[in-house]
């Protein structure tokens, strides 16, 4: 979300997420927090 990963790193992350459902959930929640935070910022200036 914040940085470009190398191909190797990306593969390792994918593999880990494939076996870790808690991590998948965490990643989804982090994305959800980002989207909602940006929505709050967008609304504030309207």
């Amino acid at each position: 979300m914040d940085t470009r990963l190398t191909v190797g790193e990306r593969v390792r992350v994918r593999l880990h997420l494939a076996i870790c459902s808690a991590c998948r959930r965490f990643a989804r929640q982090v994305r959800q927090l980002r989207a909602a935070t940006r929505e709050l910022a967008r609304r504030a200036i309207q």
Partner: protein, 199 residues
């Protein structure tokens, strides 16, 4: 404030400026906990805008232009705060024990999840979405210290990590630790009000 004023770049006069104060204040309050500080920053923004009205060319909407000035004010404020509270020192509400507590509850010694995250109810539907945003807004106010600043710079002001590191004088790894800490805290806070109420 009318939509048209925001979406139609045109001329901007000194008399127009006060109408933008509420929006600027809402934006500042998302990332500045102390009301008085937020008000000061908005005031400085309006003064700076007044002094540089001549440079407003209408390429951007007035609100966008003003938010740009406000962002600069907030970044400078963060930079001052960041110098006052070095990474090692815990800021208010930033107690080191809470931190250790949080990590202990979430992760076991071997690095596995001790308390795996539970699925959040999807904030589908506009009413649920509103509730979710209200919970999040309250939780954002609780994000203190350097972690809160890093989160705001990245997620509210949408700065690039490299620029955030420069602004706050952080190493790349400091940045990651702070960002992760902010996300864990925020996530936990949201979960407390969001899932628990609904499960």
């Amino acid at each position: 404030m009318s939509q048209s004023r925001l979406s139609h770049p045109a001329t901007l006069t000194a008399e127009d400026l006060p109408a933008f104060r509420p929006a600027l204040l809402r934006y500042a309050r998302l990332q500045i906990r102390e009301t008085a500080v937020a008000e000061d920053l908005v005031q400085n923004t309006l003064v700076a805008a007044l002094q540089s009205l001549g440079s407003f060319r209408g390429e951007a909407a007035p609100a966008t232009w003003l938010i740009g000035i406000l962002k600069r004010q907030i970044i400078d404020h963060y930079r001052r705060m960041s110098r006052e509270t070095p990474l090692s020192a815990a800021g208010p509400g930033d107690a080191a024990e809470n931190e250790a507590d949080l990590l202990d509850r979430l992760f076991a010694r071997d690095g596995h999840w001790a308390t795996p995250p539970v699925a959040w109810t999807d904030p589908e539907g506009s009413l649920r979405q509103e509730e979710f945003l209200a919970v999040l807004e309250a939780c954002l106010k609780g994000l203190a210290g350097q972690a809160g600043r890093v989160f705001a710079l990245r997620e509210i002001m949408e700065l690039e990590p490299d620029d955030i590191c420069k602004d706050l004088g952080l190493s790349k790894s400091n940045y990651w630790v702070l960002m992760h800490r902010a996300r864990l805290r925020l996530r936990q806070c949201v979960e407390r009000s969001w899932v628990v109420e609904r499960s």
